[in-house]
Symmetry: C2
Subunit: 156 residues, 2 copies
């Protein structure tokens, strides 16, 4: 369905993830490994239902409640991040620093999200501007979120 995401650590995602689990004294269980595998095989953030489907397609058992619970842990450990679209459905993807910094094409009709990258030159001038603005506002900046909102090719 979707081509593999061209990630930063072309290959050893699980190694890096395992390291983060250890650092936080958490266990990298097989279910958590499964979730990471599913996410890293996607070129876009996934909804709960999509993750469940892909897990069962892979003949793995994964209860919805366990998925929710594991996503909380994965987020705390810094492995996945939640993405907000234009609907109320939670979507998750691997952390920016695993996947590589990128942005999203968000379809306001169907809510689907696709990953995109913007040129480093724009990215860095943006960064320095945002840093100044944050400082000026007494805000501690962790990251920025830049999304393109519109219609995906399927929604005209």
């Amino acid at each position: 369905m979707a081509k593999k995401h061209p990630n930063k650590l072309s290959g050893d995602v699980h190694g890096e993830v395992a390291r983060r689990f250890i650092k936080h004294d958490q266990r990298y269980t097989s279910q958590r490994r499964l979730i990471v595998t599913v996410l890293s095989a996607s070129d876009r953030p996934l909804m709960i239902q999509q993750m469940l489907k892909r897990s069962s397609d892979a003949k793995k058992v994964l209860a919805q409640s366990s998925l929710y619970r594991n996503l909380v842990v994965l987020e705390a450990v810094g492995v996945v991040q939640r993405i907000f679209s234009t609907d109320d459905v939670a979507r998750y993807e691997l952390n920016d620093d695993i996947l590589g910094h990128h942005h999203h094409l968000v379809c306001s009709k169907c809510g689907d999200i696709r990953d995109v990258r913007i040129p480093d030159s724009i990215e860095s001038s943006l960064d320095s501007t945002l840093t100044k603005i944050a400082k000026h506002s007494g805000f501690q900046l962790d990251q920025h979120r830049l999304d393109l909102i519109g219609r995906c090719s399927r929604c005209v």
Copy 2:
């Protein structure tokens, strides 16, 4: 509590809103007017509960279900837009083209959002880049969303 938002149409917000209602063959009722008044008096997007409180503070009756329903209409007519924070609570503000284009400081701890503006020069180079990217991806770009994620001054 909050200073008035420095909007584009310094003054006649209701006139412009009324025009948009007429264009869409919708009625600009007193409740809808109330919602617009509440939103335009705020310097940040508001949650449902905040809008209800401010309405009742103004001694106005506004049922929660009517608020939700009216927000759907207000959004369809192009008067308000929904803002997505880092939680699941819907927040609304007047449309970008009424308020003037701006961005958000989003607190990942408490979810609160504050409005900020970035320099026109950055904004326009960003715009032209995003336009190219969208075209290249077969995506019909309507708007962009740029948020600064971090901790607000109250959340350290």
